[in-house]
């Protein structure tokens, strides 16, 4: 599966468009991580636990999107966009969407 956020895949031609595919995941924080984050709130700096958590979750959203695209018979997803929103206290939604296409 080729993933790009361009409107085409350079050097390849698009044979067929399958429309929008998307994947989402909602993650809550971990108590242990939250404790460390509380400390970091005093000292400042990067919250490594959160960085990892969000990048893992985003990967999961991408995986779901890929699953959907391969079920349609696509071999690439173009024009991918990400969006993150904090929906409830301590939970964040990660969303990935793009256009599934079949390349020649």
């Amino acid at each position: 599966m080729i993933l790009t956020n361009l409107e085409s895949v350079p050097g390849r031609e698009i044979a067929e468009h399958y429309g929008l595919v998307h994947g989402n995941t909602i993650r809550a924080k971990h108590i242990g991580r939250d404790f460390m984050a509380g400390l970091k709130n005093i000292f400042g700096g990067e919250l490594k636990g959160y960085t990892e958590l969000l990048s893992e979750s985003r990967q999961e959203a991408i995986d779901r999107m890929i699953q959907q695209a391969s079920a349609m018979g696509a071999n690439a997803i173009i024009n991918i966009r990400f969006s993150t929103s904090s929906i409830a206290q301590g939970a964040a939604e990660l969303y990935a969407y793009g256009t599934a296409v079949r390349l020649v």
Partner: protein, 150 residues
């Protein structure tokens, strides 16, 4: 009295550690930005003419938190208004860090350039109660890495 003591200790800890980590981070950023300078990075949508045999997504993210001292400073700013300089440097650092992580990922996988970069900012874990709220911001940078066929 004890509460004022705790407040002052937290303020000093935040100031000391915050200043120190910021200084160190800026030094580190300058070096890493210089090292990754050869990789062209643009937010143009249309790829250049040329032969590319590989295109894939690269991304970098970072979650940062502001220290206690700066948070108090920002709270004071809320009263008087004006630029919140203490948060400006925080977001500047985070954004540069996220872009650098993306670039480093691209360099490691042998990319020649990155196109269509998007940078996104999301405030995570907003809480209604002001106490024990974890004020953190996530910066995500992503783009398409292209590999030229030689």
């Amino acid at each position: 009295m004890v509460q004022i003591g705790i407040f002052i200790v937290l303020l000093l800890l935040g100031y000391g550690f915050g200043r120190w980590t910021e200084y160190r981070h800026y030094q580190q950023l300058l070096i890493r930005e210089r090292d990754s300078l050869p990789l062209p990075v643009t937010n143009l949508k249309t790829p250049p003419h040329g032969n590319f045999h590989k295109a894939y997504l690269v991304s970098g993210n970072v979650v940062v938190s502001v220290d206690y001292f700066k948070r108090i400073l920002a709270a004071l700013r809320n009263v008087f208004g004006g630029r919140v300089v203490s948060y400006e440097t925080l977001l500047d650092r985070a954004r540069r860090e996220a872009i650098l992580r993306m670039k480093e990922q691209a360099v490691q996988s042998g990319a020649d350039m990155i196109y269509n970069i998007r940078v996104e900012t999301a405030s995570i874990s907003k809480t209604s109660s002001r106490r024990d709220s974890v004020g953190a911001v996530e910066i995500l940078a992503y783009g398409t890495a292209l590999v030229e066929s030689k």
